[in-house]
Subunit: 376 residues, 4 copies
Amino acid sequence: MSDGGLFDAVLARGGARAAVADEAWLQAMLDVEAALARASAEVGVIAVEHAEAIATACRAEWFDVAAIGAEAANVGNPAEPLVRALRARVGAAAEDVHRGATSQDIVDSAAMLVTRRALEPVLDDLGGTADAAARLASEHRDTVMIGRTLMQQAVPVTFGLKAAGWLVALDESIARLRDVRLAAQLGGAAGTLAALGDAGPAVLGRFARELGLDEPVVPWHTDRTRIAELAGALGEACGAVAKVAGDIVLLAQTEVGEVREGVEGRGGSSTMAHKRNPVAAISARAAARQAPGLVATLLASMEQEHERAAGAWHAEWPALRSLLSFAGSAAAWLRDCLENLEVDVERMRANVDDPSGSVGAASELIDRALRAHGER
Amino acid sequence: MSDGGLFDAVLARGGARAAVADEAWLQAMLDVEAALARASAEVGVIAVEHAEAIATACRAEWFDVAAIGAEAANVGNPAEPLVRALRARVGAAAEDVHRGATSQDIVDSAAMLVTRRALEPVLDDLGGTADAAARLASEHRDTVMIGRTLMQQAVPVTFGLKAAGWLVALDESIARLRDVRLAAQLGGAAGTLAALGDAGPAVLGRFARELGLDEPVVPWHTDRTRIAELAGALGEACGAVAKVAGDIVLLAQTEVGEVREGVEGRGGSSTMAHKRNPVAAISARAAARQAPGLVATLLASMEQEHERAAGAWHAEWPALRSLLSFAGSAAAWLRDCLENLEVDVERMRANVDDPSGSVGAASELIDRALRAHGER
Amino acid sequence: MSDGGLFDAVLARGGARAAVADEAWLQAMLDVEAALARASAEVGVIAVEHAEAIATACRAEWFDVAAIGAEAANVGNPAEPLVRALRARVGAAAEDVHRGATSQDIVDSAAMLVTRRALEPVLDDLGGTADAAARLASEHRDTVMIGRTLMQQAVPVTFGLKAAGWLVALDESIARLRDVRLAAQLGGAAGTLAALGDAGPAVLGRFARELGLDEPVVPWHTDRTRIAELAGALGEACGAVAKVAGDIVLLAQTEVGEVREGVEGRGGSSTMAHKRNPVAAISARAAARQAPGLVATLLASMEQEHERAAGAWHAEWPALRSLLSFAGSAAAWLRDCLENLEVDVERMRANVDDPSGSVGAASELIDRALRAHGER
Amino acid sequence: MSDGGLFDAVLARGGARAAVADEAWLQAMLDVEAALARASAEVGVIAVEHAEAIATACRAEWFDVAAIGAEAANVGNPAEPLVRALRARVGAAAEDVHRGATSQDIVDSAAMLVTRRALEPVLDDLGGTADAAARLASEHRDTVMIGRTLMQQAVPVTFGLKAAGWLVALDESIARLRDVRLAAQLGGAAGTLAALGDAGPAVLGRFARELGLDEPVVPWHTDRTRIAELAGALGEACGAVAKVAGDIVLLAQTEVGEVREGVEGRGGSSTMAHKRNPVAAISARAAARQAPGLVATLLASMEQEHERAAGAWHAEWPALRSLLSFAGSAAAWLRDCLENLEVDVERMRANVDDPSGSVGAASELIDRALRAHGER
């Protein structure tokens, strides 16, 4: 995945894309090697100076992504060539690089770091989206509009209540993403930590702490429930985004005309000056709709053979990267959309036959949503 | 879905299938109407005697599934004809049946009840599977076997550690399923609770309590995060099952021969007497593999228009039923498999070149897994 | 799957559902055994009288679905208990029942028969839908309406051209479904036809002819390209239906009001008399949206181990049944929708600012679509 | 997508990846603009010199991918900024650039070109794989091995027959891919060709010919059956690859040991010298397993609103690119695997209890497969 690609501004907005790029993965793998060295030194498995030499060398800019990537073809993953390249840079500490670990330990722990880092912009943009929805809910508490069921006008609601519904769904998906369990992986060749002798569990605990990741009960090399949980939470967030974006697209229809996207110079049509296309909502939908298929790929990959899967493990990498990137793009676009949304209060009112009809508990429900949002 | 079907013993084992059957759905919808009546009476919206008359009438065996189902074609859901049939049974209370509610309130709340009831056998069988894995982990703490990575023999592990890895994944997926948020849905025609006047929120709260479901912050008619969360958790559980079943199938290969399923009279072949097919593991896999696609269907259905979706809502029904049923079948089969598993300790040892090789922290890791299991 | 279910009128309309029901599967398996007996007799492998006795006994109503289904749990498929039950009915011919075949031969060949039979109503309803689209294209050749891109009004088109676009997509998906290769499967225990001695290939050829199915180049027990092709074609047809149904839902919006479904007594709302919900289009969408996930399940099941898969084969059964049934329901609903569609020509015209604007080659393009339709 | 990425050697092998890269897309869009100009000149809609000036300017290396990509955010697709950049390069011909077309015409026609170009290496590698399978079928006509059903040893087959089964599936998926209908798209703003006046259909026909693509019956902007068909065929090919790769992984297990991958220096393990991991088969599986989810995304995207979809169209781009790239990688890896496969004939024989047992019509079936392969 490259920066500045032909479709990236539309489909890879926000910070998640860079956070899952090759350089970020490379640095994450190096961070894992550094953490392993430090943890091993703490426990006394390797010398402190060796750990320092290794940690100092773990800077992505000193390594050649293309060369490491090319060599990965011989072993099926990029950790092994990276370890060789790292060993070549650390002199006498070479023998202590990667001690006790296997390639999967490095790639899986790096995947967790990459995920945590990519979730930051995803959560930031989801949070900004939720804040924007909260603002709309509050500002339009009394903006009466028609409720629509099965795409037919039904009874009055308020735009504030609609936004409150969006808000609650966004907040719930944020809560799910925040709860995702990200744990370090260290098990050695087959998950017994045997190469670390008696020190295995102690190294595992410190390794996790160094990385700021949970310590797992046991090494999780072929227990992919974490990946599934992450996938589910990202899929849920994308669905929450898609619902809002879909509503915006529907409300922005020429015949409805109740909202429009308010970014100057965007969404115009060279041939049809009167058009104002809801580009942000459209792009959010386009990204969000990648999620169900990618989640299915990750769930189907849970069936991993014995102590390391022959394909299902490797299959996770592109699907997880794409899912994080698309979730980020969906969130970034929707945030932009809601933060700049122009609401046509008059038009909303005009679409209601009897604007004095009851909107029931709409206002109280909005308060409940705002209160729940405030408590998060 | 019928009982005693041609493929059901293979693909719909366990109690979940019956819990998602038509009769169970019908009863759940009636339970929802009864709860609504009782809640409304508590708040004073309807008379207590009417509530009692309604609640008394809400027994599935008094209603005709086929007739209600057939009439559903005219409105697109079975709640509306059910309400009419219920009204016909309660005399003067008819006017208070379904008061303040819309069809989606009934179907969605019923879906939550059906889910809670179907999750009972699913969780029971997953729990039984986890217990069986725990027993294997404990009993085979010292049973050395070869670890296999990328389907090649690697270094020694113990069968106890392998089972402990299964156990942790099962326990984690159980924890996820237990955490799923099941909430009552009540919003009226467009989610404002308007038809209940000022009493709306009070009725909502009592309605949820009557049903033993969470009270949502706001009505969630087009916030499908709950469904997504449930789908994700079921998909994760199926993946955890598939991993174990896959390992069993691999270990039971003729050339490996380290385990075999031990149910008398099952798995034999009329033409090949020497065969002992791992039918339970195979059937668990077959059910579990339905999950990724069904989860994708449910996630793709999250984009629901305005105040009631024109198709995406209806699309959830078969996918959710199937997913619950298949998760249950997968769990029931795997439980049977593990509870009856014959482990060939000698063969395991024979497949290790150097059985005295270190298995590292295997025993300590097993303890960690058993401890975590015990604490749940 | 039962007839007359609670959700069937909405989600299982049309003839496909019955064609994939248990009884239909049972009869198809019996038809396969009968064809095998006849083919074997033609080649001289078994006595003609035995073949006749077997063929005569192959009537589903004489067999107990529930009993056969229950016994299937012991072997993982319903063919084996069926063979035993069939043998019990044919006296001396018992030894020639199922000669040379394995369970998978019966189930796979039956799946092809079931598919062919289920495709009849699917194709009939798709054809009827296409005819209805053709009629709309023809009748509304000059009905000007506004074209909409990105859900914004753009430039004029005609409703006839829109219907012509639907028509071409439907016709193309019909052509794909008609082209699906349905082939007999017969290979014996591991695909060598060994149990038939030298007569194997001759029996295979006649067996295929008896069934009216293609003769495969080689037995296809773990070559699932046929299933994949079928799945793809059904998924494509569902997508073609969903596009039309989606357009109907959008055009029927209160604010657009250019079409409405015209079946008396359907789509009304008890509480909102002014509503006319597009139930047929909604139900078509609900069924069609099951397809992507089910297709994914079938594609993921293509990885089948060696000479018979341990789970992936079994996983096909429910997914294929559901996919056929949902494709049929989607087609049946859309046919109903288009055959009864009320087009509001005035409203269409009113939604165009400048109804005298050019609609370009719309009429010529309609002719091309109608011509292509006529040639099929 | 970048060349030389960290995971590309494992997951993006073969020529398809480059054929779907940004530069290839940019060139394809330019080829489409050039073809449109030439076709328009042929029909007399624009001056020949203008067409030549435009066609001459349509070279990707003269355009800035990053700049065009960045501007795409304002309109939601890269065609519009490309048209502006192209106009800036052609002086007086600027007014004739893109005449009569809309952005979707350019992107969709370019997608067809990109697909055709990407299918070349995919088909080449699938063809090479099939040839390798044919060679194995022929060479191992008499290599007896044990057939395995449900992962249990069953009755003897030959390795030649197993390879013949692979061959037929590969050949069938190749035939499907070759049949995929790739058609030009040209419809103007809403599919009427109105901006081309009476010349619309004539331009469409010549435009298609210039591009070497089919002329569609009508513009297919929201008829996505072609994309679905392509997706289905790619998914089928990936499944055919996955089946073979899965068999290789199983046969290469230490305990089975009947094949191994024969590329020097690949698949070794630094810590376990005795291992020889089947890296090619593993990588083929990893790529192939992306297909079901991506196909589901493309099928779910078929529901496209009115005359241009608000998100579903955009959602196709990344899914289609990824699917082509992964299909190519799967095919390239499997070709490498089969071309270098080492077959241990002795081990195969040793795994058969009674090597003199009948393999039935294996040899004849191999001939049938080879004959069918030869005729393609």
